[in-house]
Amino acid sequence: MATANMKDVKRRIKSVESTMQITKAMELVASSKLRRAKERALAVQPFFAALYDTMSDISADPAFSSVYTKKKFVRSTLVVVVAGDRGLAGGFNSNVLKAAAARIDELKAGGEKVSLVTIGKKAVEYFDKRGYDVTDRYSQIAERLDVYDAMDIAEKIIHGFRCRDYDQVELVYTTFVSALTQQPVTVSVLPVENLENGAKGGSLTEYDPSPEEVFDGLVPQYLSGILYAAIVDSYASEQAARRTAMESASDNAEEMIGQLSLLYNRARQAQITQELTEISSGSLRDE
């Protein structure tokens, strides 16, 4: 009995050890990917600030109007959902997907038609399986995302918006708050709103050919900028979440190994004690 138990425990220790090797490796990979992802997420800031400033300046003029800023009666919404390509990242995917599903239900309850664009394999699978109306799917683009990918997606979305396939566009993704906290957020993308009114002196600026045309020319870039930033942000969050999850998995594995070793040593000790008792009782009988 004792020997069988010892063998079992030994096998379990081995298996936990090999799992721990994997989680340790994943933790290291995630933390180096996180570092690069954070750099990319920071690099997009100046681009965004420059675009945003210009758009605010233009929209500060009361006479200004554009198809992209007009508030319409909303009957249909496009929701862009960004999730990860892989699992094993703690609650990362399920949190953002739940937030997206809740938002979609809310919109539907308001009587709106909702269509979806899914980015990231997990988002694609989740919404396809549940029979949502998904117009475009993008898998495996986050890790090697370049601007051209974001431009492609933005162009399609803008085309649909101009053709009035939908009246507003919202984006659900996970934002990187800190290495330990990642927060799913929903932002409204189109029509463009919430522009702070920029410098009123902006009216001195000469817009070539006109403020409206400059603004409308900017919107596709603004949108691809937002998408690029959101995907990069979400990717950084995914890596951070994975690192935390793998870190605690490794810790748990270590704790389990400790407990199992204790169990193993106890069993071994019990066996030795038993053998000794058997030997001494045997020799007693011989005498």
Partner: protein, 134 residues
């Protein structure tokens, strides 16, 4: 000649930051050259070669720019674009592939939407090739 502060910004990085004497860009209204002390000005830039002269007497450098904007104000000039590449850094093979792919779609006569997208891409690819060829 006087210099001005020039910043070229893409989503991936600040592509260029420094002093320049002159910048020439192609806007929807035609080629525009900007020198130091320009009045406040904003325009859309088309996919085209962007010429930058960083100092007097120096050769101007050329970069391929996808669509973007150029903005001159009291702080200098900023160019904000989705993608900018120096002529010498352009991956000619990749640009050729993009051109061939776009051409193929145009020939296949697909939907209007795809046609327009392919046309845009063709313009960008051709622009990169012209800039690189120089």
């Amino acid at each position: 000649m006087q210099t001005f502060r020039l910043r070229i910004i893409t989503p991936e990085k600040v592509f260029f930051e420094g002093d320049a004497v002159q910048i020439i860009a192609r806007t929807s209204a035609g080629n525009v050259g900007i020198l130091a002390g320009h009045s406040p000005y904003v325009a859309n830039v088309l996919p085209s070669p962007l010429k930058i002269k960083t100092a007097d007497g120096e050769e101007s450098r050329t970069a391929a720019i996808s669509s973007g904007i150029i903005k001159a104000d009291k702080d200098g000039v900023s160019v904000v674009a989705e993608a900018v590449e120096w002529a010498e850094d352009i991956d000619v093979l990749r640009a050729q592939r993009a051109r061939d792919a776009a051409n193929k779609i145009l020939e296949e006569n697909r939907s209007q939407k795809e046609f327009e997208r392919a046309e845009q891409r063709l313009k960008k690819a051709l622009n990169r090739l012209t800039v690189a060829g120089r």
